[in-house]
């Protein structure tokens, strides 16, 4: 109970304290994160002793707001707290000269508190609220440098994309609560049949939006406009992870049909966004596309019926991707750009940082004995045994090959080239990076005990699977290091560079119709005012009636009122051309429709 409170309240208190006191923001934020980490560790330790903690509001036991610590949620809380601490230490260096540090660290701390709330939520209402809060605080963080061109638009896009997909979560939650009669998450997972199918598909929409799966991947690439520590946090253990976490938590409920859909989305995303990463010309955007691709892997694992494998990959990816972003942040500081062209040789100028970055990159490629090797192995094994293997296996293998290839390419670019202009040492940034890179390398050893704690072991697969995975990793790395992407991809390169036109298609399908509709409504209003309605053929009879009413009834009334009471003779002319009668005619149509509905509705019921 104390640990639970500490995990949540330490970052929250730090955020409030920073925004209120406005001094020493970095120190307070790191202290808050460290306390939160201590809380999460305590929570995790009590899980290993077999305890289960649930908490409601002390003075309102019936209120549908509760937290729960199970092995799964406690593991996730620990993950969030660990990554946060490392990222904040890095940010203390990265943001050292930014005049708006207070706002940055304050928002970061609140963001983390919201994420912990989401992870530990025991009921849907809490989860919904936390879900919205992380969406909103990430909007603030992505738009942190809102003065720069394009940043406000990117933040808005991120918010609108994820919020549109959030509709799925709302509907799914309402459906589940309606079916189960309670908002307790664990209890609603007993729902079966068609409601479970519909709810599962809706949850998939929500998860795809947050985790940047096809066709929603575009916002994540644009969200790179924010400060790099924000990207490190968003991609690894917070915003983007929320989607995968949602599916992992609800996996026991998902029926076969939903799993097929999850597998289709995940497999397609793993390959398509991987190709996009390979064709990318900007290091941060490359990493972003890679994030979407890696979450595709997690969806594959869920579709294969092995949410534990997805969780392992989530953990491995969190450490790896945040390390990669922190490395990219150092290079960005050195060259004041993240374009790959500008970064050529940036790694050789800072061998220490490059080593950390390379360690994480090799881990992401899936080389043993690092973390992602184990999790990718688990995903391949599960895919092999799954009935969906004909789709999951090829896409997982292709995804693994492509991820090794783009990491190989990134390493090559950073190493080859001129190694000039190394600036002053960066102790804070290096400390954050190395802490995470060390985790990325060694976490694999903890996976066995973790599986035991979660009570879900992964079955052994055939012997050749590890070899296949290793071949994909090594082959991809060699290909990426030696061949430039346009030779490697051939005709696919142009397509991959433009994101396969998915973003444009989505824009054409959603944004533009809404704007067009808005303009149409505006035109309708203007049309009413310019009298087009009355001249319409169908409206002729109606217009006649309206004119009669207008002349005999309304105008008469106006004349009488105005003449007798106010004597606004002059204004009368203006009012007459104010076309109230046309608007009233519309109201009359409305009344007619209303009568029709009221007469028909009782018959049908």
């Amino acid at each position: 109970m104390i640990w639970l409170a500490l995990t949540l309240l330490a970052p929250f208190g730090a955020g409030v304290a920073i925004l209120a006191l406005r001094r020493a923001p970095a120190a307070v934020a790191i202290a808050g994160a460290a306390l939160g980490l201590a809380g999460a560790l305590g929570l995790f330790a009590s899980m290993t002793r077999g305890e289960r903690i649930g908490a409601g509001l002390p003075f309102l036991p019936d209120f549908p707001i509760s937290l729960e610590a199970t092995p799964l949620t406690a593991t996730l809380a620990l993950l969030v707290a660990t990554v946060t601490t490392a990222v904040l230490i890095h940010a203390a260096g990265y943001m050292a000269r930014d005049p708006e540090r207070v706002r940055f660290f304050g928002t970061m701390a609140l963001f983390v508190a919201a994420m912990e709330l989401l992870v530990l939520a025991g009921d849907w209402i809490t989860l919904l609220a936390a879900w919205e809060m992380i969406g909103f605080s990430s909007y603030l963080l992505i738009g942190f440098w809102h003065g720069r061109p394009g940043v406000a638009g990117a933040a808005l896009r991120a918010f609108l994309y994820t919020r549109s997909a959030d509709l799925g979560l709302y509907l799914a939650v309402f459906l589940l609560i309606g079916r189960a009669g309670t908002s307790d998450i664990a209890a609603t997972l007993d729902v079966t049949g068609t409601p479970a199918l519909i709810a599962g598909l809706l949850l998939l929409v929500a998860a795809a939006g947050k985790s940047a799966q096809l066709p929603f991947q575009e916002w994540l690439l644009r969200a790179m406009a924010g400060p790099t520590p924000v990207s490190a946090l968003l991609h690894s253990a917070t915003l983007v992870a929320a989607g995968a976490i949602l599916l992992i938590r609800t996996a026991p409920m998902l029926p076969e049909g939903v799993l097929v859909a999850v597998g289709l989305v995940g497999g397609a995303t793993a390959v398509v966004t991987g190709l996009m990463a390979l064709a990318e010309r900007d290091l941060k955007r490359l990493l972003a596309a890679s994030t979407a691709s890696q979450y595709g892997f997690m969806l594959i694992a869920i579709a294969a019926g092995a949410p534990v494998a997805a969780l392992l990959h989530l953990i491995a990816h969190a450490a790896i991707k945040s390390a990669l972003f922190l490395g990219a942040g150092v290079f960005q500081h050195d060259r004041e750009s993240t374009a790959l062209e500008a970064l050529a040789g940036a790694g050789r100028a800072r061998p220490g940082i490059f080593a950390g970055f390379a360690l994480a990159a090799l881990a992401l490629a899936g080389l043993p004995p690092m973390a992602a090797w184990f999790s990718k192995e688990a995903i391949l094994t599960a895919s092999w045994a799954s009935p969906l293997a004909p789709w999951l296996m090829p896409s997982a293998l292709a995804g693994a090959l492509i991820s090794a290839a783009y990491m190989g390419r990134a390493l090559r670019v950073l190493w080859a080239g001129s190694a000039e202009r190394a600036k002053a040492p960066v102790p804070f940034m290096a400390a954050g990076l190395w802490g995470l890179a060390a985790l990325a390398a060694t976490l694999g050893a903890a996976f066995g005990p973790l599986e035991a704690l979660l009570g879900a072991a992964i079955a052994e697969g055939p012997r050749f699977l590890p070899l296949l995975g290793l071949a994909a990793a090594a082959g991809g790395l060699v290909l990426g290091w030696t061949l430039p992407p346009d030779r490697l991809l051939g005709p696919l390169f142009r397509q991959a560079e433009t994101g396969f036109g998915i973003a444009r298609a989505l824009e054409a399908l959603s944004t533009r119709p809404v704007l067009a509709l808005a303009e149409a409504v505006e035109r309708l209003e203007t049309a009413v005012l310019s009298g087009i309605l009355a001249s319409g053929r169908a409206g002729l009879a109606l217009a006649g009636a309206a004119r009669r009413i207008d002349r005999d009834a309304i105008d008469g009334a106006i004349f009488a009122l105005v003449d007798r009471l106010w004597g606004f003779g002059q204004r009368l002319r203006r009012l007459q051309s104010g076309l109230i009668h046309r608007e009233l005619a519309l109201s009359m149509i409305g009344i007619a429709l209303l009568v029709a509905v009221l007469l028909i509705a009782p018959l049908s019921s």
Partner: protein
Amino acid sequence: MMGRDLSFLLPELVLVGTAMLMIVAEMLRAARLGLAIGLAGLATATLLTLPVLDADTTVFSGTYRIDALSGWAKLILLPGTALALLMVRAEIGGRLREGSVHALIVLVTLGALMLSGAGDMMLVVLGVVLTGLGSFALVAWPRDDAATEAAMKFLIFGAVTGAVMIYGLTFWFGGTGSTLFADLGRLTGRPLVLAAGLTALIVGLGYKGALVPFHFWVPDAYQGAPVSIAAYLSVITKAAAFFALAQALRDLPREAGWPLALGLIAAATMTFGYLAALVQSNLVRLLAYSSIAQSGYLLLAVVALGASELALPALLVFAAAYVAMNLGAFAVVLLAGRELSDLEGFGRAHPWVGLSMAVFLFSLTGIPPLFGFVGKLGLFAAAIDAGHLWLAVIGILNSVLGLGVYLRLVVPMFAASERHGAMPMPAPLLTVIALTLAVTLSFGMVTGLFLR
């Protein structure tokens, strides 16, 4: 008998007395005294409501209801009116006939209370007329072209819809031989009579509540009227219309078809309001269309009446949230200016007011943990509980549109701009902003209790 009835009516009686005293103060040219009397009267009436909050009875032979709905309605409408008085003071304080405006507002609120306690058709008509007459005069107060034309349009729409309403309600009287809502059950099996009265009620109260297609007067009236009056009309008389609708429909069988009709109107209102708001460049018109959209949301709770226990609590909670956040947003407009471009850089020049505006707008969108989020959650839950999943879907889809509308205000507010320097910050306005902000921020949790 009479004594008992009057004891339940203490809040209303206090309000009548307050209005009389305010008119006397205006005759003495003591506008500040009038304002003080008004605020004290509203506070007294609010306090007198508390003891009868648990009552569930009627007075004057069943025509006026003293129940949970009317009680909580008073607790929403009376403090809301007090805030509106402060806004009026800030906007037109010291000008000619200021005291008349104050007194008229209190009288219109009396009409609003009647609407929210109506147990009888005649009381609905009386409430609509009482709120209507005062409102026309309030809109026309500036006596310039725009205000006069706006008031005219408002009046004509009121006259037409009022006529339709009174005409249609006579069918109900003819069918039941009584004007009490409680006797409407006798109409079962007479669909034509039922439909006529329902149409009448929906037209009359839909006009007051700014529902599509009876909303045309709203943007013009708000734009022509002083901003504080627009704010008042957008919350008090509108909320009262929905309370009256709820009072009447509680006694009607759902089989009469009104849930479907109102559901369609709600969907149209939400969608139309937000779509039209997306393309406005005048801030007051934008807020007018946004408030039309919010009417559609309020209607969700009415649609769920009789099929969901949550309907009435959801209506009250969202109404309270709406009153607070909309008044707050209008108060900021009063400070910033009437055009969308007036907001550019406003949040930077005045961070506290800018942040408050952001909170109001995000609450209108429905972002947790603000009051508006809890309100909308209740509305959707009620609609789904009543079996109108499609309506909740439309409502949720529209909240994305709403986000687009409100972000159009928030984003430029914090852009760099040199437009705004130091400006006077009238104390009454700051009070309004502070109070509505406190409610918007903190009541989300408190009302959770109430929804249970």
